[in-house]
Amino acid sequence: MLTLRNLAVNYGAVPAIHDVSAEFEAGTVNFIVGPNGAGKSTLLLTIAGALRPRMGSISFRGKTISGMNPEDVASQGCSLVPEGRQVFSRLTINENLRLGSIAGRRKGGSSADTEEVLSLFPILRERYSQAAGTLSGGEQQQLSIARALLTRPELLLIDEPSLGLAPLVVDGVYEILRKLKNDSLTMIIVEQQATRVRNNGDTVTVVRDGHVAFSSKVSTISDYSELEKAYFGFS
């Protein structure tokens, strides 16, 4: 569904990613893990069109999307839930969601979508006309995911969904992601830790220093020390 070929990206003047190639299949949940500063967020931002690759290409459902504007990538059905959630704090929850459904309608979405999504996130319905800035971190994460879902994505990119959230709240977020997986939504989830890979992921890719250090199907990993080695760069 998504293919990265020899991708290299600069962040500012500094190379953040060199030569990343990867393949993600439809209907799978894919983890990208790696230490701080490894280039994971840069990778997602590049896929989503917010950064331009210096070299290489990205193709999504057979179509080259590298070099496209972020709004066009979104219209292609690839939606990003960014690091730090980035809800529009001055807008109400309703308005935040409407922004998502604007793009969704271009792809044949309807108001029924909003209902469907809200049934996944009951807390958002409760606070429908409240400003998003008043939500707690976990609620904002839900809003950010809900908003992305309303764009009717084929592929959901999620950047550190557990960042800054208490463990129990993170459990809640992953509960929702699991439901989405059951609806066979393709996802790429970036996390700093690999704690949730085994129970939630189909594949795992370790990114370190801007390159792929390890990549495997979760089901075929028998010994995690290999992954650990790749993560740290030494054993």
Partner: protein, 304 residues
């Protein structure tokens, strides 16, 4: 007392003009981090479109001689077209540059437009009379207020309400507010940058046209620099109100207009001439007291 009320009406009328311009500046600044100096040229060009190109001090009317409705529509349209042209040719290419570069580019572009106008019309201030009847004073609640002040209040009030309603309830308005808060995130959700930005410039041009008509009707004169000072003041109004908060811009505009008129009314005669100096000093002091603007600090999490 009635002197005070009179000043209040004057202040509200001036303030509403500043509020309108501040809103235009605020739209563009919120999204592009660009202080759009060319806003002053939208005002000036629209005003000069009323007369035939000429260097004379009392030129013949051009669009100004058309029937009122046609005149208003044409002037507004000129504002919109000019704003869209500046967006397309001056700002689109440098959209991602640093704020300092944007600021100075916008200053340079404005200077360029000013001097193109100057080459055609010369620097000589001109007098024009459109809507002379608007200068007639009307008795109003015991006050004698020039009709133009009431018209200004009415027009700007209506425009502000329309803009606020648009911002709050329409899809386009939500997109603008979202982009003003977090431009990249809005794009990631599929909001089309060019469309939203062009829309903001179009509104800025519309506001420029409306303001120019009101200013010309009030003063009866044209000046190459007529737009500069209001735009600078309106920029301060947006800063005072809180950057990124469009309601703040409106509030700041009213406040600055009001203070300006009250200074005019209550400064001792000698000092009155220095009103603008006091006004600028006042705005800078407000910024020192509230660096994030009047409502920004409390506005996190509130509706704008």
């Amino acid at each position: 007392m009635s002197y005070f009320l009179q000043s209040i009406v004057d202040g509200a009328s001036l303030g509403s003009i500043y509020a309108l311009i501040a809103l235009a500046i605020g739209f563009v600044f919120g999204i592009l981090r660009l202080i759009n100096f060319t806003q002053s040229d939208y005002i000036t060009y629209c005003a000069y479109a009323l007369i035939i190109p000429s260097t004379a001090a009392m030129p013949a009317l051009f669009i100004g001689a058309w029937p009122a409705a046609l005149m208003v529509i044409s002037v507004l349209l000129i504002g919109v077209v000019l704003a869209l042209l500046t967006e397309r040719f001056a700002f689109r290419a440098i959209r991602d540059a640093e704020p300092e570069i944007l600021l100075i580019s916008s200053f340079a572009t404005s200077y360029l437009l000013q001097h193109i106008l100057m080459a055609v019309y010369s620097t000589r201030p001109k007098s024009v009379s459109i809507g002379n009847w608007l200068g007639e004073p009307v008795a109003f609640a015991g006050l004698r207020v020039p009709l133009i002040q009431l018209v200004t209040l009415g027009v700007t009030g209506a425009a502000l309400i329309a803009l606020v309603a648009m911002l709050r309830y329409t899809e386009f308005g939500i997109k603008i507010r979202a982009a003003a808060e977090n431009y990249r995130m809005a794009r990631l959700l599929g909001v089309r940058a060019n469309a939203v930005i062009a829309g903001c410039f179009a509104i800025s041009g519309l506001i420029g046209g409306a303001v120019s008509l009101l200013l010309v009707a009030q003063t009866g004169s044209l000046d190459i620099l007529m737009g500069v000072s209001p735009v600078i003041i309106a920029f301060f109004a947006t800063v005072i109100g809180g950057m990124g908060s469009l309601m703040g811009a409106v509030l700041g505009g009213f406040l600055v207009g009001m203070v300006s008129q009250l200074l005019q009314a209550y400064l001792p005669g000698e000092a009155r001439e220095f009103r603008d100096a006091f006004l600028f000093a006042f705005t800078i002091l407000v910024l020192i007291a509230r660096p994030n603007g009047l409502i920004a600090s409390s506005a996190i999490g509130q509706r704008t």
